[in-house]
Subunit: 340 residues, 2 copies
DNA sequence: TCTTGGCACTCCGGGTGAACGAGTGCCAGA
DNA sequence: TCTGGCACTCGTTCACCCGGAGTGCCAAGA
């Protein structure tokens, strides 16, 4: 049974442990929180909580430390998101409003998130796959060299250089430009890639080769999932605050190098809900000592990417959750504005 | 006086200390290197080297450790660049040749450099300021919205969105496109920005407002030094190998967050020479325990940016220097090819 | 004059053991 | 059901000691 006072005790343990980084004992607990009972009573509750697996004793006659299960209960039942202060809201607004392009939005978000939470922040660039084609531009640099520029609805711009076997004149290029834009403007990129594939058959035979080369590059750029894997990381210096280097810092540092790992951590779930993954709940056993607070972002239920923070299981969940949600909302709003 | 044998002793001390990370004593020295003299002789030499400030004793009755001055002498006089192995050369070639665009070149270079040296690698993106304008493209998205795309000789592409007060028809836009390209194509961007500034006066009055808006955005993009400060960092996980967290790892981790600091570390000197900055020789007293091996890159004496590695003063200088130089050369070559 | 073996000395690092104290579990009484 | 008391556990800290690596110096040899 989990009665109210035991929950209070658990909450107090989590809060104290997060603050002090040291196992917390019964006496300190009643002193620092106003639970109106004696240490002995708290001890009984602690024993019960330990039986049920919510807390754990590093060794006999040490204080208690929350287990992953304990944090989970705390997050699910006990934590109320810390509201952002007015100053923090202002900081978010002014910093993000100053962004000049998509890259800048992402860079600033990472920085912001890591400063707000004093944790390591990760932000996934908006994925290509869900966005639509806004415009395609063909620029002839020399008669046999064409720069292909693909502009997407998220504001992302991809450019590729194409070498043609035969020279192409400007008027032909203009025709092609119209054709590719007709085939793909406003269309989701998977569909656009398919539509473009058929295009070379429809053009005049003299143009077919050039068209094929250009369309080839375009479809490749559209299906290039390399850019789906792009991720920005910030706040690594916050790792310095962690105590145990070997079990907590080193594996995380290694994980941060591997963007594939980070993507998995963020959870490609595609859901926009705020999710908290605690210690062993995550996919990597080496990262059993770290938790992830993440959420999707994107205008109106439209999942473009994820962002979040990673840190030790002993982290300030209410604060991190609030910050992650606030930043995600703001980023979503900005992307929406740029899209109208 | 610094005779030959003393130099040999210094070299041996540096090599051993770098390998073992422990102060090296006279006995171990004669055993591991084939200096044909007795420990006692070596001790005399060590005492002399210490008097001259090249090595240092952490405490009485400990072995010797090179000082910054000692490393400096080692790098200047004693180190011969370790030639890259065939496998390493191949790895550089295949990895970098696979890059699809400028961003990719930079990303791959960081990765490569950090793997080759097992250190933290930093690569500066090619600066705008030294490059020339290859092409400017104006794309009308809606009648009052124009996407301005600036393509530079380095392959960098900058895009900006412009909101016009009055709608502009496609033929006018085409005229403008010709005008801006005539004014700036092939010109270094500082000069191009100046030339563009006069352009709005020369166009038909109806177009003047649109021209002003577009030129404004262009010149802003050209003089935007934000992108000059872009830097890629990789191999942070290699920090985990360092011993002393507080003095070596933490300050470096903090520095890595500050791209301005990194730029200063790389040395905006503008020179293409391979430079080694050892410990206190650098601009930051907090980083007295770290060294930087860096060089500029760019096609034929044309400095586009810098790249290098940072690590503890106790690092493998010959190996790092060779790797940095090899990668810089390869990157330069690739940028040159893309530029023809 | 340089090199070498010998020797006394220094000092770090690791290991041991005792005192301490924080924290616990349990029990009896309110 | 809560509380105060009490015996017990066990990690932490400190002093202390000892071994070993390494040194500086000296006197003798090349």
């Amino acid at each position: 049974m989990v009665d109210d006072r035991k929950l209070d005790v658990l909450r107090a343990i989590v809060e104290d442990y997060v603050a002090t980084e040291e196992p917390v004992g019964s006496k300190a607990l009643v002193e620092r929180h106003g639970l109106g009972v004696s240490p002995a009573t708290v001890r009984n509750d602690m024993a019960a909580l330990e039986d049920e697996g919510y807390i754990h004793q590093p060794h006999t006659s040490a204080g208690r430390v929350p287990t992953d299960k304990g944090y989970r209960l705390f997050v699910d039942k006990l934590a109320t998101l810390k509201p952002m202060s007015a100053a923090e809201r202002r900081a978010i607004a002014t910093l993000l409003d100053g962004a000049v392009d998509l890259d800048d939005v992402v860079q600033r978000s990472v920085r912001l998130l890591s400063q707000l939470t004093r944790q390591v922040a990760i932000v996934q660039y908006p994925t290509l796959s869900r966005s639509t084609v806004r415009h395609i531009e063909l620029v002839s640099l020399t008669p046999t060299r064409v720069m292909v520029i693909l502009i997407l609805s998220t504001g992302r711009v991809e450019q590729r250089l194409v070498e043609l076997d035969a020279p192409v004149v400007d008027s032909d290029l203009a025709e092609l430009r119209v054709a590719v834009n007709q085939a793909s403007a406003g269309v989701q990129i998977a569909a656009a890639a398919a539509a473009l594939g058929d295009l070379p058959d429809g053009v005049r035979p003299e143009q077919a080769d050039s068209a094929r080369a250009i369309v080839g590059v375009l479809t490749e750029a559209m299906s290039d999932h390399r850019s789906d894997e792009r991720i920005a990381v910030g706040g690594t210096a916050n790792l310095a605050r962690y105590g145990d280097f070997e079990t907590a810092v080193r594996p995380l540092l290694e994980a941060l190098e591997e963007h594939v790992v980070l993507l998995k951590l963020l959870g490609e779930s595609g859901t926009d809900a705020l999710t908290v993954r605690i210690g062993h709940e995550g996919p990597y056993s080496e990262l059993a000592a770290t938790s992830v607070v993440a959420t999707g972002y994107g205008p109106q239920e439209f999942h473009l990417g994820s962002l979040g923070v990673v840190g030790p299981t002993r982290m300030d969940y209410p604060g991190s959750m609030a910050a992650v949600r606030a930043v995600a909302r703001y980023v979503s709003r900005i992307l929406d504005e740029g899209n109208q």
